[in-house]
Amino acid sequence: MNTAFILNACLHIHAAIVAHEADIESLDRAIGDGDHYINMKRGSEVAAGMYNTLLPLPADEALNKIGMKLLSTIGGASGPLFASFFMSMAKTAQQNGANTPLKIAAAFAAGVQAIMQRGKASVGEKTMLDVLVPVSTTFTTLAAQGKSSQEIATALKQTADIGLESTRNLIATKGRAAGLGERAIGHLDAGAKSCQVMIHAVCDLMLKEADA
């Protein structure tokens, strides 16, 4: 995983978030407080804006700087969670070099693990983790099986879709929708939606690069 890819991914993530404004916003409006799109936009915009500054840095430093910047930019629930993701991913990347798919998958897993710790949450609670945790598992599994990056990217997109969809019939036990009880049923989780959007964006980038 090199810095250029990471920064490129940030650009694509930002574009994807903006392209999905209506979806993301309406979900947080339905069972949250309506700011999740604005938060994601603010965060992805600032990450995208770091392109030139971070390009010369090693991948783990770039990841860490992105995490720290997100921490002081996003706020809300998603801010510390995504910040923890990047900072923790950076730490593992620094340790393992993140120079094979499996090592990258391990770094991703560490990021997801940090979200679970910070949010004291796991799957089935109608949060972004319902997308991120299965994506992480699939990633590690396929990487360990030595699958190609095309195969991995395609599978991760599918996994993200299924994870997102799984939030529809859940009662929320974390985040703002917690306590809504059955009224949350039928709605997708906003954070899960933005994770699905972001994973699609990054995987599409992987597919494009593999093509080239």
């Binding site: 309506g34 921490l71 002081s72 706020g75 809300g76 510390p80 985040g175 703002r176 306590g179």
Partner: protein, 332 residues
């Protein structure tokens, strides 16, 4: 969306500048990162720091000053502040008695304050407010939301800190007040987050949202609009049931706070007070203190919340003690 604003991304900074200017005798606004402190730094006391998403004005900046907060960290609208704001605010007002954070119990607020606290090089503690009885606590949820009762916590803890009490005592009082306080809100209309540009939720002319949160989050249920007495009846039932669940008796002295969400006129708030007072009296509750007005708002939402705080001598004393902030002032 029809609001007095220039550009949506400037609302917060312009409003905070206006606030800081209008109350320059009381507060100082710091930017990059954004936080507000008392103009004159207090010495030799526990520093009380609060904060949260903006849109709840006068919470929290309106409660900075003698007898209440030392600093407040406003986040973006309905979005908790970031750790750097909290960290710098705490560092700015810290003397050597430690810092007490008063945090409304929302995942975002909790995590951001937590991350700031982890980085703090000195003694600190946190009071999580969770007075909203609309959200039923369960082992599966992150717990109840902090709403208008937060003002009472901030007032009492602020008063105690002024006496030179230590961090543990301040935290203990905050936890006690929170435990003895129960609130529930009702929305008649939605609020509109400026950056979103449209109403957070749709609600028909014949509906109300019972148990709404201060960000327009849905509450217990969507109900038929009905007369004030009937609405208040259900609110008071919820609050008394909450005290019962906690094993607390309500047949005693209380503080009754009728809080407007931003677009509900005083005339209606006092009518709600009348209605609530009647009902409480019928339940053997003695209203010994009261507060009516817009103290914890949800932007331009029409609606109100009812808060009952069970008083004891200690809470009474700290409620009554002098306070001098932009939004709450007495005794000096």
């Amino acid at each position: 969306m029809k609001k007095f604003i220039n550009q949506v991304d400037q609302v917060l900074v312009e409003s905070l500048s206006g606030f800081a200017n209008a109350h320059h005798d009381l507060v100082t606004l710091h930017v990059d990162p954004t936080y507000l402190t008392r103009r004159e730094k207090a010495v030799n006391k526990v520093a009380i720091v609060s904060g949260g998403g903006s849109g709840h004005e006068p919470l929290h900046a309106g409660y900075i000053g003698y007898g209440m907060l030392d600093a407040a960290c406003p986040g973006q609208v309905f979005t908790s502040p970031t750790p750097d704001q909290i960290l710098e605010a705490a560092e700015a007002v810290h003397t050597d008695q430690g810092v007490l954070f008063i945090v409304k119990n929302y995942a975002g607020d909790v995590m951001n304050f937590e991350m700031a606290a982890e980085m703090l090089p000195f003694q600190h503690a946190t009071v999580l407010t969770s007075d909203d009885c609309a959200v039923v606590n369960s082992t599966y949820t992150t717990g109840r939301r902090g709403v208008a009762g937060t003002v009472i916590v901030e007032k009492c803890v602020g008063s105690l800190a002024e006496t030179g009490a230590d961090l543990a005592a301040c935290k203990a009082l905050g936890d006690k007040v929170n435990q003895q306080t129960s609130s529930i809100g009702v929305a008649l209309t939605s609020c509109t987050v400026p950056a979103a540009g449209r109403a957070t939720f749709d609600i028909a002319d014949i509906e109300l949202e019972m148990g709404v949160g201060i960000h327009g989050e849905p509450g217990r249920r969507r109900e038929q609009m009905r007369e004030a007495d009937a609405i208040v009846h259900d609110c008071i039932q919820a609050i008394l049931a909450d005290f019962a669940t906690k094993g607390l008796t309500h047949r005693q002295d209380v503080l009754l706070l009728i809080n407007g969400f931003g677009a509900t006129p005083l005339m209606e708030l006092y009518l709600l007070y009348h209605s609530a007072a009647k009902l409480l009296a019928a339940h053997g509750v003695r209203i010994e203190r009261s507060l009516v007005g817009n103290y914890t708002t949800a932007l331009d939402m029409a609606g109100a919340s009812i808060t009952v705080c069970l008083l004891d001598d200690e809470i009474k004393q700290h409620w009554d003690s002098p306070v001098h902030t932009a939004a709450l002032r007495w005794g000096r």
